[in-house]
Symmetry: C2
Subunit: 218 residues, 2 copies
């Protein structure tokens, strides 16, 4: 049922959370926008916090499945040989950006929300997201180690952290882009171009030679 009450609530909540944040979005605003009864949120989800988790699960689970499947396919295609760094990176950022481009499924709204969630202080939400991400991160960590064998494990972790962080920021996609006020040519909604630019930038960063001795391992 696509227009189930549950989905109506999830859609409205997703949009409002993305636009105004969690703390400033009340259940009243959500149910009004969804056109459903105020009490139905607590009936279907139990609490506001549980609703927030549900909003994330609905999209993150398929997105990370896609990442893992694409990585598996890649590892078969390149069996034995080394996967090009840039291809690996695009496999990671692609599904996120694809969701952003998928207007029909409301992905564009969600992706902003996802970006925001990375800086969200709520402990329970962070824990939930960590659970949803853990397996993906570990799989890609292994893949990156093979592609970049000259880098020590902790440097791989740091650089993946940078990659995830930058992706999250791009996805948050607030008007901070306009910080750089005079950049009228920059169109953040041109997803394929953004993916390309990001992947060039990230490939260079991820693959940068580690400068001997200047960073001591701890």
């Amino acid at each position: 049922m696509p227009n189930d009450t549950k989905d109506l609530i999830l859609n409205a909540a997703e949009a409002l959370f993305a636009e105004h944040g969690f703390g400033s979005t009340s259940l009243r605003k959500i149910t009004t926008k969804a056109g459903v009864n105020l009490a139905s949120v607590n009936y279907h989800f139990g609490s506001k916090e549980a609703l927030i988790n549900a909003v994330f699960e609905r999209r993150i689970v398929p997105m990370n499945q896609q990442r893992i499947e694409r990585l598996k396919g890649l590892q078969e295609d390149y069996s034995g040989r080394s996967i090009p760094l840039e291809v690996l990176i695009e496999t990671f950022i692609g599904p996120a950006m694809a969701l952003a481009a998928d207007q029909g499924k409301g992905g564009a709204v969600f992706i902003r929300l996802l970006g925001r969630s990375y800086t969200e202080p709520s402990a329970t939400l962070q824990q939930a997201i960590r659970g949803l991400y853990g397996p993906v991160i570990e799989r890609f960590k292994l893949a990156f180690s093979q592609v970049l064998p000259e880098l020590p494990p902790e440097e791989i972790y740091w650089r993946m952290h940078f990659m995830v962080g930058l992706l999250a920021y791009m996805m948050a996609g607030t008007d901070m882009m306009r910080l750089i006020a005079s950049c009228q040519v920059c169109d953040p909604l041109d997803i394929p171009a953004t993916v390309k630019r990001l992947s060039v930038f990230l490939s260079a960063g991820m693959g940068a030679p580690q400068r001997g001795g200047e960073i001591e391992s701890r």
Copy 2:
């Protein structure tokens, strides 16, 4: 007066905003933590929103002054010659990271807040921050153009955007670092090491050769 009521409020607000976000932090919690009267926030600042702006101004103004001064010094030192890319990048991220290291001035708390503000939806706050950042961005944009003359202007804008974004994310510094669960060696509080790693990563990304034809300008 270091322990002015105004400063007590600013300190408490800064800490609570950083920990719980804006929407979830009430004036009651702030005044309780500060040990001052509930009404004093409205007396000194006028409203909650004005308090939020004041929290940011107190730290951003000196930080950006520092950035500009260091850039000026750099341009004198290298008069005529080209500033090394990595030096320029460290001039930009240094003052932010220095604030993070400056426990005494409460900078570490603020820097998380600053990171969070980049994904904050409040329109008025974004406008205020944009005003505080504009001049710095434009100055550095010019400097980057000189250091990277082979890149077209819009590519410079995009990459600065990536740089600011990644810096913001690092500063938000929630436990998302722990996403990469098994990374026990990564210590986000080791500021000098983090600056070095970031600057290596960003220098490679900022200076990456643009791949001919694959990104079409719009």
